[in-house]
């Protein structure tokens, strides 16, 4: 197994606050990694550093063995890193189809572009012309999240960073999201930040726990769930892993 992403001593400060503190993280190709941690643990900041939306204060990020230092966000995107931010960042004034088209356009041309867009629209459940022509601003929260996942799908990233993809979803909606992410995982390495533990246990094999900007522990979900420090700060001592739900 080869590491697709490696960080060494990655640090980001905001004035006196160290949001990301000396993080060493290795994610292997094809992996689906979950990042958990309480609010303010530095998860979103880490994601933003990885995509250079925020400039790291110090430390190194290597993607596919290449140092990302000094690259503009679009260069990193072109190397195959895609991100869904915590706050949906989509083209609110454009239609669903246009959003997906824009995501697919950089890597697909001609007829392949049209078929990719159509396929992705189906996969995320926007089949009818009426729905694909809708302005994104008018979509429900869940639909907007799915659409953003659709944009990730069509851009065929090597590494996808998902920041709270199920926030605000009902359980059914969450399950649908799990399916989309599993589909995405067939071709892409994924790192996902989530709070929904059912979601995590459905998806993740390996979990990294962040606390106050540092890696607290990194292990399988079961092991993590047993870890007293994690239980102390995050899960609460009464927590039990949910019983698995078969996922299609």
């Amino acid at each position: 197994m080869t590491a697709i992403l490696e960080t060494r001593g990655l640090t980001r400060r905001f004035g006196g606050v160290v949001a990301v503190d000396q993080i060493n993280l290795t994610v292997n190709e094809g992996e689906l990694r979950c990042l958990i941690g309480p609010n303010g643990a530095g998860k979103s900041t880490l994601f933003k550093c990885l995509t250079h939306q925020l400039k790291p204060s110090s430390g190194e990020i290597r993607f596919n063995g290449r140092d990302l230092k000094g690259l503009a966000p679009h260069r990193i995107a072109r190397m195959g890193v895609a991100i869904k931010n915590q706050i949906p960042s989509v083209y609110g004034g454009l239609s669903v189809r246009e959003n997906i088209w824009l995501a697919a356009r950089r890597t697909h041309y001609g007829r392949a572009l049209d078929t990719t867009v159509a396929k992705a629209l189906t996969e995320i459940g926007f089949e009818t012309a009426e729905r694909t022509a809708a302005k994104v601003d008018a979509l429900s929260h869940a639909h907007r999240q799915w659409m953003e996942l659709g944009m990730l799908l069509v851009s065929e990233p090597k590494l996808a960073l998902l920041d709270e993809p199920t926030a605000g979803m009902t359980r059914d909606e969450m399950l649908k999201t799990v399916r989309i992410i599993q589909k995405l995982n067939q071709t892409s390495t994924i790192i996902v930040v989530e709070h929904d533990l059912e979601f995590i246990s459905l998806l993740a094999k390996r979990v990294t726990v962040l606390h106050r900007g540092r890696v607290l522990v990194e292990d399988t979900m079961d092991k993590v769930a047993q870890n007293p420090a994690v239980r102390q700060i995050y899960l609460g001592s009464q927590w039990q892993p949910p019983t698995s739900v078969p996922v299609q």
């Binding site: 905001f14 088209w101 824009l102």
Partner: protein, 342 residues
């Protein structure tokens, strides 16, 4: 069908070009030629502002550079075709340099406006300060505040002595307007145009999808500069005159007014607005009313009545009353802090 509809506006322009000379007197033709060159310039601004979200307060800089480039080239080479090319190339190149500075320096929107305005004022000050005869380029004196006068008109390509007649110049102005309009609509509908709109909608998302936002902005900026330069050339050819006033605040504000009045995000609207306002302005100048008073009031009125950004056109909506919603929330300097923190 929808595709054809988006090009429909070229029809009335071409119709005007066709029948104009048999309908209007000479003065009318010259005046419409003038209006058309200004309408052409405003197309550039409507494009870069409306489609790309880049508000350049210094659009007049490119117009003026084109005008000067035309005048200097045509006086030296005696051939208007080269001069028109120079008038497109010079502002385009200048915009690339300036754009590199602005977009690759990550200058924010508001500062971008102020810097483009400053550049325009620098050009105004510079051209005004070239009164000394030692300021000349080839045979063309820059002429300081008085500008360059008696600039040759358009001639038949290859025959410097054969000046085009008023009717032909009139037709050329309108046909160029129609062509540039069509070209910009085509650009808007192309992949590149769609990405430009995406950049306007969300720079962050476009960047995260791997689009080099700076490059698209620079491209759009240059296209608008080239269009403005072409307009400057035709304007100078029609009037035989160019001076520092091409760079002044008044000129810059007129372009903005026409785009607002015509509707941000469209192309036909600003063209129509430019014709209407130029006519009104000319009319007021013979009526004895204080034009500042009237125009100031019109600008305020239009801005206040404009319901939202990107409402395609205002025509017909003028009487719709605006609800003063969105009072506080959209507006907080700390929004940035919220975004960047966790």
């Amino acid at each position: 069908m929808e595709r054809l509809k988006s090009y429909a506006f070229v029809l009335p322009i071409l119709l005007l070009a066709a029948i104009g000379p048999s309908v209007f007197e000479m003065f009318g033709l010259v005046q419409i030629s003038n209006f058309a060159t200004m309408a052409l310039a405003v197309l550039g601004l409507a494009f870069v502002w409306g489609f790309l979200g880049v508000l350049s307060l210094g659009h007049a800089a490119f117009f003026g550079l084109g005008a000067y480039a035309y005048a200097i080239t045509v006086i030296n080479l005696n051939e208007s075709s080269f001069a028109v090319m120079a008038a497109i190339a010079v502002p385009a190149l200048f915009s690339v340099v300036l754009g590199y500075f602005l977009f690759f320096g990550r200058v924010s929107d508001v500062y971008l406006g102020v810097i483009t305005l400053c550049v325009t004022l620098v050009l105004y000050n510079f051209t005004s300060a070239t009164a000394d005869p030692s300021y000349h380029i080839g045979a063309a004196p820059l002429g300081g505040f008085n500008g360059i006068t008696a600039v040759p008109q358009l001639n038949w390509p290859g025959d410097a002595e054969q000046f085009l007649e008023v009717e032909t110049t009139f037709r050329i102005c309108l046909i160029v307007l129609a062509l540039v309009y069509a070209a910009l609509v085509a650009l808007r509908r192309s992949s590149v145009g769609r990405i430009m709109v995406a950049v306007r909608e969300s720079e962050l998302r476009s960047e995260l999808l791997g689009y080099d936002v700076r490059l698209y902005k620079m491209l759009g900026f240059s296209v608008s500069a080239a269009v403005a330069g072409l307009a400057g050339a035709l304007f100078t050819a029609v009037n035989g005159y160019v001076g520092p006033s091409a760079f002044d605040l008044n000129q810059a504000s007129q372009f903005l007014l026409w785009v607002i009045a015509g509707g941000l995000g469209g192309l036909a609207g600003p063209v129509i607005a430019s014709f209407v306002f130029q006519y009104v302005s000319t009319y007021l100048g013979t009526s004895g009313v204080n034009t500042d008073l009237v125009f100031g009031a019109i600008i305020m009125l239009f801005v206040l009545l404009k319901v939202r950004e990107r409402v395609p056109a205002l025509w017909g909506r003028v009487l719709q009353f605006r609800r003063p919603a969105r009072r506080v929330q959209a507006f907080t300097p700390s929004a940035r802090a919220v975004e960047s923190g966790e």
